[in-house]
Structure formats: structure tokens, C-alpha cells
């Protein structure tokens, strides 16, 4: 069972544009939703995270939108830069366990 579904698989955006990555989850017990950024050969690094008591969280150019009723959340990268080119993973956790369930990843390429 795929606990977290992520789309698109890959994304190409012009510099200055908005990158949007979407995730949907199954388990209503999830209560923590982080986004990780991963560069080639490196480990995932926490980018931003949200809990379901708010519908939006913004940190700099990065915004998470959260829709609890639809069980969906998304990452918006404003003014995308070539340095943002990386793979982005959404994740979810909560309930009785403490493992993170990761989405399948989105490879973002920002073209100069």
C-alpha cells in the first residue's frame, strides 16, 4: 500500500517561475508532513514541514499548502532558481509509529 503519492515525477521550470509539487496521503492518523530536498549523492535535507492544524506555512520562497479534508498537501517554490534543481520528497508520519513514509520524489530542473 502506497501511503503517500507524489506528482509529478519530474518538473522543468524557467528561472523565476513557480514550481508546484503535489502529494496525497491515505492515513488520517498522519499529523506531520515534511518536505525534503535531496541533491545528487547527498542525504535528504529538511526543507519545510507542516502540521494539520494550519492550512499554509511559508518560509522564504517555499510554501506548503495543506488540505486536510482532501488529504493533500503541496509544495510551492516561488521565484525558482537554478540552485533549486534537486529531487524533492514529501513525507508523512504520525499515528502509532514514528517512521516517515516518503513519496516517490520529484526531480525539479530550473532552467536559467
Amino acid at each position: 500500500q502506497q501511503q503517500v503519492k507524489q506528482s509529478p515525477q519530474s518538473l522543468i521550470v524557467q528561472k523565476g517561475g513557480i514550481s508546484i509539487i503535489n502529494c496525497a496521503y491515505e492515513n488520517t492518523a498522519f499529523d506531520y508532513f515534511p518536505w525534503y530536498q535531496q541533491f545528487p549523492g547527498k542525504g535528504p535535507a529538511l526543507l519545510i514541514a507542516i502540521r494539520p492544524d494550519v492550512s499554509e506555512k511559508k518560509e522564504g520562497r517555499f510554501t506548503i499548502s495543506f488540505n486536510k479534508s482532501a488529504k493533500q498537501f503541496s509544495l510551492h517554490i516561488m521565484d525558482s532558481q537554478p540552485g533549486d534543481s534537486a529531487t524533492y520528497f514529501c513525507a508523512a508520519s504520525g499515528g502509532t509509529g514514528n517512521q516517515f513514509y516518503f513519496g516517490t520524489g520529484t526531480s525539479l530542473t530550473v532552467i536559467p
Partner: protein
């Protein structure tokens, strides 16, 4: 800023051999994790460890795998008899509270290649 470290960065081994992957979690963290990522695929949970015992494990974490915290700083993953399909990046992570809502910090990974 404190970080999770892992050694070695790359391990090459023959099928059937035992390997030990090492991690030094962030010093004041209490919960430790191993994940793996097969090339081009998503990150998959293997096991979590707290208070010197396994707290949760996935179906991937079979009898070939074991974890240990041999001293106050290291956290190891042992694969007893490696298979070709064990080739992957292995990430160690740690968190302070491990309540599922606490951020997990990942190390840079060990690339395991089984020949």
C-alpha cells in the same frame, strides 16, 4: 550546526559477505533510524531504534539485518549475508523525540554496492 555522519561513504562487497554500516547520530538525539534508497527510487524505512531496542521495523528489515548501538555515540546497521538487491544508498537519521512529529535529520548516506 550538529549533523549526522556516516561511514564509509561507499562500500563495495561480494555477495554473501557481511557488511557493517556506521552512523554517528546527533549527540542529544534519542531516536535513530535506518532508511534505504535504491537508485532512482524513493526513500524506504528500514528500522527505528530507541532505548537500546528496535521500536519499529519494516518488512524489508528481515533476519539478515540487525542494528546495534555499541557505545554512546555509534549506531550500526549490519547485513549478514549481502544479496545483489541490497545494493542501495543507506541513510541513517536521528531525531530528538521520535514522536512521529519530530524532524528526522539524515546523514549523507553510504552507497552499498554488492557484486
Amino acid at each position: 550546526e550538529p549533523e549526522v555522519t556516516q561511514t564509509p561513504s561507499h562500500q563495495v562487497t561480494q555477495m554473501g559477505q557481511e557488511v557493517i554500516l556506521r552512523c554517528v547520530p546527533i549527540s542529544n538525539h534519542l531516536y535513530f533510524y535506518w532508511y534505504r534508497q535504491i537508485l532512482g527510487q524513493k526513500v524506504e524505512f528500514l528500522v527505528s531504534f530507541y532505548n537500546n531496542e528496535i521500536s519499529e521495523k519494516s518488512e524489508i528489515f528481515d533476519d539478515q539485518f540487525s542494528v546495534e548501538r555499541p557505545d554512546g555515540s555509534n549506531f550500526t546497521l549490519k547485513i549478514r549475508s549481502t544479496k545483489l538487491e541490497d545494493s542501495a544508498m543507506y541513510f541513517c537519521a536521528s531525531s530528538g523525540q521520535g514522536a512521529g512529529t519530530d524532524t528526522q535529520y539524515f546523514g549523507p548516506g553510504t552507497r552499498l554496492t554488492v557484486l
